[in-house]
Amino acid sequence: MSEPSIYLDYAATTPVDPGVADALSQALCDETTLANPSSVHRAGRLSAHRVATAAEQVASLLNCDPGQLIWTSGATEADNLAIAGAARYRADRGRHLVTMPTEHKAVTDMFRALEKEGFNVTWLAPGPDGMLDIGHLEQALTDETQLVSVMHVNNETSVVQDIEAIGELCRSRDILYHVDAAQSAGKLPIDLRRMPIDLLSLTAHKFYGPKGVGALYVADRPGCHVEPLLFGGGQQRSIRPGTLPVPLIVALGQAAEIAEQKQASDLAHVTRLRAALWDGIEGVEGLVLNGHSSRHYPGIVNVSVADVDGESLLLDLEPLCVATGSACNSQNQEPSYVLRSMGRSDAEAEGAIRFSFGRMSTLEDVEQAAGLYVNAVSRLRQLAPAA
């Protein structure tokens, strides 16, 4: 029998919290979630009530109005809807958009599609630490700019952008600001009544909920609106039509409620785990941290060694489940575009490993991971020709 896995790939997807799993399994067989929530009969109204409760739970986590949330199938759809929907809605005002090459593919590929539609996109490169220079953003903005999209926590490097400063700059120019919060929602404080954010994407499966459900926050202020990507039955004010997956939405609500309760303890936990992991690997010669030394979410650690092949390293680390970069990008063998955008060489990007952990991870997990990493790098260096 093979060794049990040590799962340290929480940035790809988290395990489902037992409390969420209970809520989901009950909701799958419950008369209060049986009906289509758009139906006006009693069962429909019960389903609609469960959806409304979930909206209140998510809104409480984000400190926003429940009516400002649009349910989606996940963060990819939420990102697509926010970016294409806002760009097209405001196209008559201007066709200039701004983002970064280090965003998730759900964002960058949407912007590339918009370029083919005739939009003009400015791609702002990060510094070597992954951070956006606000001065560069300010210089990039023009009278034509209608939308800026810069994520909160980077999914590969854990870099935390200064979303409040970006939002304030955008707000002062009447430019919409979208935040991909897939990696931060439920993990870091987000206060949408205070933060100048117009559009924010999240997905349940990054904070201990099920896959297949997410949400887009759309601020209720003049000029902030998204045109739909889908057309159909008029649900969700026709912004995102389609019958709502009530059990999944109930589970997302439960995940949000638990995340709100456990946010501080979860953050303290992953901070301890990060310190233990770093203690274990920092002695590796030539080790480079891909990210920012202080502006990071502690649950993701991305490191490189330039003289070791990443694919061999990944196999040598078994039974450890980690990533060579973004899991969403694992089907191709190109070096991480995020790390390349930060100025890393092909060799450094190819040798990168992302450890990510969370609520269910243990100190033993990360200590074992550190030991496996040190041994694997050592063995592969011995296997390689002399430099």
């Binding site: 092949d309 694919e311 061999s312 196999l315 092909d346 011995q382 296997l383 390689a384 020709p385 002399a386």
Partner: protein, 116 residues
């Protein structure tokens, strides 16, 4: 479930490469295609007595280098000049997109043959 990209043979050869190292004889090295391969042999009376490799690259490359060195021992040195890449790719189920890396191994072998 996504299929395992590595066969049992690749995993076995990658995890325990008995022929990793340097032989007491001539060597050749090529750095190309993002990989590095170094081969060395100890030959006597036209026969390869020991073959060793060092490699930086993907698991398929390491496994192929190990399999090649194991096969080479006991063979005439002329075996270094054979075009073994296609056979070894088939044997180890190496994905076609890694052909270039396996050809680096083949080219290193040919380079070494020229030094004997």
């Amino acid at each position: 479930m996504t299929s395992d990209p590595y066969s049992k043979e690749v995993r076995r050869l990658f995890k325990a490469p008995a022929h990793a190292g340097i032989a007491n004889g001539p060597s050749a090295r090529i750095d190309a295609q993002g990989v590095s391969v170094e081969l060395s042999v100890e030959a006597r009376n036209g026969q390869v007595e020991a073959a060793r490799f060092r490699a930086k690259g993907c698991p398929h490359l390491v496994a192929a280098a190990e399999a090649f060195c194991a096969d080479l021992e006991g063979q005439p040195v002329a075996a270094l000049e054979t075009q073994f890449g296609v056979d070894i790719m088939r044997r180890l189920s190496v994905p076609v997109e890694k052909t270039g890396r396996i050809l680096v191994l083949e080219d290193t072998s040919a380079l070494l043959a020229g030094k004997l």
